[in-house]
Amino acid sequence: MRRFIGQFVHPGFGLWAAALLALFWGFAGTARADLHDLTRLGGFKKIYLLPAPNEPEIDVYVMLPVGEAQATGPEGLAHYLEHLVASSADQAHGSGLRARSHNAWTSPFWTTYWNRAPLAQMDDMLRYATALFQPPDLSDAFMRSERDIVAREFDLRVADTPSASFAKAAYRHLYGAHGYGRAVVGTSDSIARLTPADALAFHARHYTPHEAFLLIFGPITPEEATPLLARHLANLPQNAGPQPPQHQPLPPAPKAGLQMHLPALTRDQVLVLGHAPAPPNMPRRTLVYAMILLESILNSAQPGSLAKPLYYDDFVVSEISIALQLLPGGQIAFQLGFSPDGDMPTAQATMRVQQLLQDLAQNGLPDATVQSQRSILQTNSRIAQQANARFALQVAMNSLQNLGEALDANDHHMALHRPSTADLNALVRALFTSPSIITATATKDIP
C-alpha cells in the first residue's frame, strides 16, 4: 500500500462521525516509558528498548530503510518481497499455531516487520527478527502463488478506489521514472510480472541488519532483554556491508499539470504535489519539528490554515488536507489534496487554493497561530505521555524514521519548542514557491 506521505485522498471523502476530538488517548496505565539505547549489543544500526510494565505483551519492530523507491523492474517488488520474507520468518516457531501475532508493511522508503507476544515467546520473536536477513526459505511454488495473494490485496486496496489510481498517476507525473514515482503495491500487470528471483536479488542487495533498526516495547527490562538479544544477534548474517545510500537527483517537474478522467469518482479531486530543498542552515531536528508544527497549523482551523478560509468560511472545498514528508535525499515533499465544494467549479477552487499558498508564502503565518498551535501540540503531547505508554513508542518510531535516532517523549515535547515562526515561514516559502510543484486534477465527467 502506498504510504508515501499518507492516505490523504480517501475513497469516501468525508468520514461520517460527529466528532470534535482534540486528542483522545483514553487509556489508563503508567505511561512513562524510558528509552534505553542497546545499540552497543551490535548487529543492527540501532537497538532501542522501551520498557512498559503494564503492557500485557511485548512488541518487536524491525524497521528497514528499504522500500519501493529503491526497486527496479515491475512495480511492487519491495512489497512482494515483504510478503515472502514475512512468510519465511514466521516459521521461527516451527510449524503449527503460534502464540504470537505478526504483520509487516511497506512504503516507498521503509519496510517494517512487527511481532507481539508474551515474554515467553521472546526467543521466537528475536528468531523472527534475525530470520528477516536470511534469504526467504520458501518453495518456488509458494513464492509464485504469493503473487496471487498480492493481486488480491491490490483488488482490496486499489481496484475499487479511483483515488488510489489517481494518486499513483500524480506521483508518476511529478517524479517520472524516479523511484519516488513507483507504486508500492504495483498494478495488476506488474504484479503478474514479479519473479521470485528478482525478489531474492532485491533481498540480497538491500536487507542488511547494519542499516536496520530494532525497537522493543513492552513488559521487559533491559536486564531481561540484554542476554536474549546477545544470543540472537550472534545469529545475524554478516552481510557484506551496507550499500551506500544512493539518492538519484530528482527530475525537473513537468511544466504542465495532469488531467485525468475517472468516471468512478463521485466528486472531482485535485492533488497538488511538490518538493523543495530544505531551508539552508536549518538543523535537522529543527527542520523535522518545523514540519510537524507547520503541518499541524495548515490542517487546523486557525488563521493561517488552509481549512479556515477554504473549508469553514468560504465553502470553497469540501475537504482539504496537507501532509509533509522529509525525503531520503533531504528534500521536503508535500501532498495537498482537496475536492471542490457544492457547485464550485474545480478550476476556480484550484485557483483559490493556489492563491492561498502564494499568500502564505508571501505573508507568512500569524505568530499568534504558531504559538497557539505549538501550545495545543504540547498540551496534547503531555496528556498522551501521561496516559499512554504507546505514545513513547510512536515518538520513537517517527523519530527513527526522520532523524535516524529514537527520541523519548520528553525530548519530543522539548523539540516542539525548537522551530521559531521564522523557521516555519522559511519552510512555507521554500515549499510553496518551489518550481517543483504540479497540480493533478481528476474529474468524474469529461472535462
Binding site: 460527529a18 503492557e55 482551523a301
Partner: protein
C-alpha cells in the same frame, strides 16, 4: 470530516494501551448539584475522563424516507457549531484544553460523549453545551453534508462488498424503516432532509430526561458532576424519542448470485442469525467467531489464503441490525475462478467448527488474543463508559456490563463448544451471497443483476 478532526480521529485510532484501572470496576453512584444521577468508574491513572450520555429511544418517529437524518443530524450538530461561536473557534478551544465531543446514534438511543482532562472538565462541558443547547444548524452545512453523504453511499454501493450487504438487507429487512437507515438507499432520500427536520430531531432528542449518564476516568466525582450540569444546562426536560417497530430479520437459506459483468472482482458474504448480543454466552460466541475468522491463524484465513490461495483477507465477525437482531457473518474478496471452491471450503471450515468445536491445542491460542482484546477494552475510559451505557440500555447493571473481561477470561473450551453447537446457525440455513462478474461463478438458487432485486430471492 475537517482535516483537524480527522487528524485527531487518526490519532485516536493509532494509539492503544493496556492497563487495568487501579481499582477494578468499583462503580459508584453519584448525583450532580442539579440532581442528575450518574455512575462513575474511577480510573486513577487514566489521562482523560469520558462522560457518556445516552438518550434512550430510537428515531422511530421519522418517516421512512427521512431515516438517514439519524446519522446526518449528529454530524450537523457538531460540524455546524454554535450560535455562541463558529466551529473554528469552538474546535480550537477544545483542542487547547485537550477535550473532545462525539455524538452518534444507535437504533435505540442517541449517544453523546464528553471527553476531557481532570481540571478542565467544566470548560469542556460548557463547549459541549454551546453545541447542544444553541446549535447553529446552518443550511450550507446541511447541503454540504447531504452531498458528501450521497457520494459516500454511491461510492460504497459501487463496491462488491457494498452490493453484497445491500442485497442481504433487501432480503432480510423487508420494508422496515431501519432498511433506509442501514442501507441509505435510495440515496436520493437523503436530500429530502431539511433544517426543520433537524431542528425537530434536536428538540426531541437532547433533553435532561430519559437520560443515562456514565463516567469513567480520573476526574473527581465533584468535578464530573459540575461538568454534567454544565453540559445539560438549558436543555428541555422532556425527551420525545420513539423506538422503531420490532424488526424480524430474515435469512433465507439460499445461495444468491449477484451477477454484474462490469465488476472486476468477486466477493462472498455469508450471514445468519445469532442470539442478542447482550444475551448470556456472548463471550463464548465471540471466541467462536474469533477462531473462525479473526486472526491470521483463524480457520477461514488458513483455509482460504494459506491453502486455497484465493484471498488476501477473509474474516468473520458479529454485529447486529437492531438490538434484537444479532448477525454472524463471514466475508471477503475471492479470486473469481475460485469462488465455487471457496464457498465449499467455507462451508467445510464452518461446519467442522460447529460440529467439532475448538480443539484443545487451538483453544489457548485463540483465548490469548480474545482475552487481550477484552482487557484492552476495559482499560479505556471510553469503552468502560460505553459498557456501562450499553448495560443500562439493555436493562443490566453497570457491573454486568463491566464484567465482560472477567467472563472472557473465565471461558472454558467445553462451554464455548456447547454454545457454538447450540447457537451458531447451520451453514445451510445461512444466506450465501456471491457478487461476481462471472455468471457461472457459482450454482445459485437465485440470480439477480442488481441488489434492488434481492427481495425476490426470499
Amino acid at each position: 470530516m475537517p482535516p483537524f478532526l480527522r487528524l485527531a480521529m487518526a490519532t485516536l485510532c493509532a494509539l492503544m494501551a493496556l492497563a487495568l484501572p487501579a481499582t477494578a470496576f468499583e462503580v459508584q453512584s453519584h448525583k450532580t448539584p442539579n440532581g442528575h444521577s450518574f455512575s462513575l468508574l474511577t480510573m486513577r491513572e487514566a489521562g482523560q475522563t469520558v462522560v457518556h450520555f445516552a438518550w434512550r429511544g430510537g428515531d422511530g418517529y421519522l418517516p421512512a424516507e427521512k431515516g438517514n437524518l439519524t446519522e446526518l443530524a449528529p454530524v450537523l450538530l457538531v460540524q455546524g457549531g454554535s450560535t455562541d461561536m463558529p466551529i473554528t473557534e469552538l474546535g480550537t478551544r477544545l483542542n487547547a484544553i485537550g477535550g473532545g465531543l462525539l455524538f452518534y446514534t444507535g437504533t435505540d438511543a442517541l449517544h453523546g460523549l464528553l471527553i476531557g482532562v481532570a481540571g478542565k472538565m467544566v470548560p469542556t462541558a460548557q463547549l459541549m453545551n454551546a453545541v447542544m443547547a444553541r446549535p447553529a444548524f446552518d443550511e450550507r452545512w446541511l447541503k454540504r453534508l447531504q452531498r458528501s453523504f450521497v457520494e459516500n453511499v454511491t461510492a460504497d454501493q459501487a463496491t462488491t462488498g457494498g452490493q453484497a450487504w445491500r442485497a442481504l438487507r433487501e432480503m432480510g429487512m423487508g420494508n422496515h424503516p431501519l432498511k433506509q437507515v442501514r442501507s441509505k438507499t435510495p440515496a436520493e432520500n437523503i436530500k429530502k432532509i431539511t433544517i426543520a427536520d433537524v431542528k425537530d430531531w434536536h428538540q426531541r432528542s437532547l433533553s435532561t430526561g430519559n437520560l443515562g449518564i456514565f463516567a469513567a476516568g480520573n476526574a473527581s466525582a465533584d468535578e464530573i458532576g459540575q461538568a454534567i450540569d454544565a453540559a445539560l444546562q438549558g436543555l428541555p426536560a422532556q425527551n420525545k424519542r420513539k423506538d422503531y417497530p420490532r424488526l424480524n430479520m430474515r435469512y433465507p437459506g439460499k445461495t444468491i448470485l449477484l451477477h454484474d459483468p462490469k465488476l472486476t472482482k468477486s466477493y462472498i458474504l455469508v450471514a445468519g442469525p445469532l442470539p442478542k448480543n447482550y444475551a448470556p454466552n456472548q463471550e463464548a460466541r465471540e471466541l467462536g467467531m474469533a477462531v473462525l475468522g479473526v486472526s491470521d491463524q483463524s480457520r477461514l484465513h488458513t483455509a482460504l489464503r494459506k491453502e486455497l490461495r484465493a484471498t488476501y483477507a477473509f474474516s468473520a465477525w458479529i454485529s447486529d441490525f437492531s438490538r434484537d437482531n444479532a448477525v454472524l457473518y463471514f466475508q471477503g474478496e475471492i479470486a473469481t475462478p475460485q469462488v465455487a471452491q471457496a464457498l465449499q471450503t467455507i462451508k467445510a471450515s464452518y461446519t467442522s467448527l460447529r460440529q467439532d468445536g475448538i480443539g484443545a491445542v487451538e483453544f489457548p491460542f485463540a483465548k490469548r488474543l480474545y482475552a487481550n482484546r477484552a482487557k484492552t477494552l476495559l482499560s479505556q475510559p471510553r469503552d468502560a463508559a460505553n459498557m456501562m451505557a450499553e448495560a443500562w440500555l439493555t436493562n443490566r447493571s453497570p457491573a454486568q456490563g463491566l464484567g465482560y473481561g472477567l467472563r472472557a477470561a473465565s471461558l472454558e473450551r467445553g462451554t464455548v463448544n456447547r454454545v457454538i453447537a447450540a447457537e451458531f446457525p447451520s451453514f445451510d440455513s445461512m444466506t450465501k451471497i456471491v457478487v461476481s462478474p462471472d455468471a457461472k461463478a457459482i450454482k445459485a438458487d437465485c440470480v439477480i443483476t442488481h441488489f434492488t432485486q434481492a427481495a425476490r430471492c426470499r
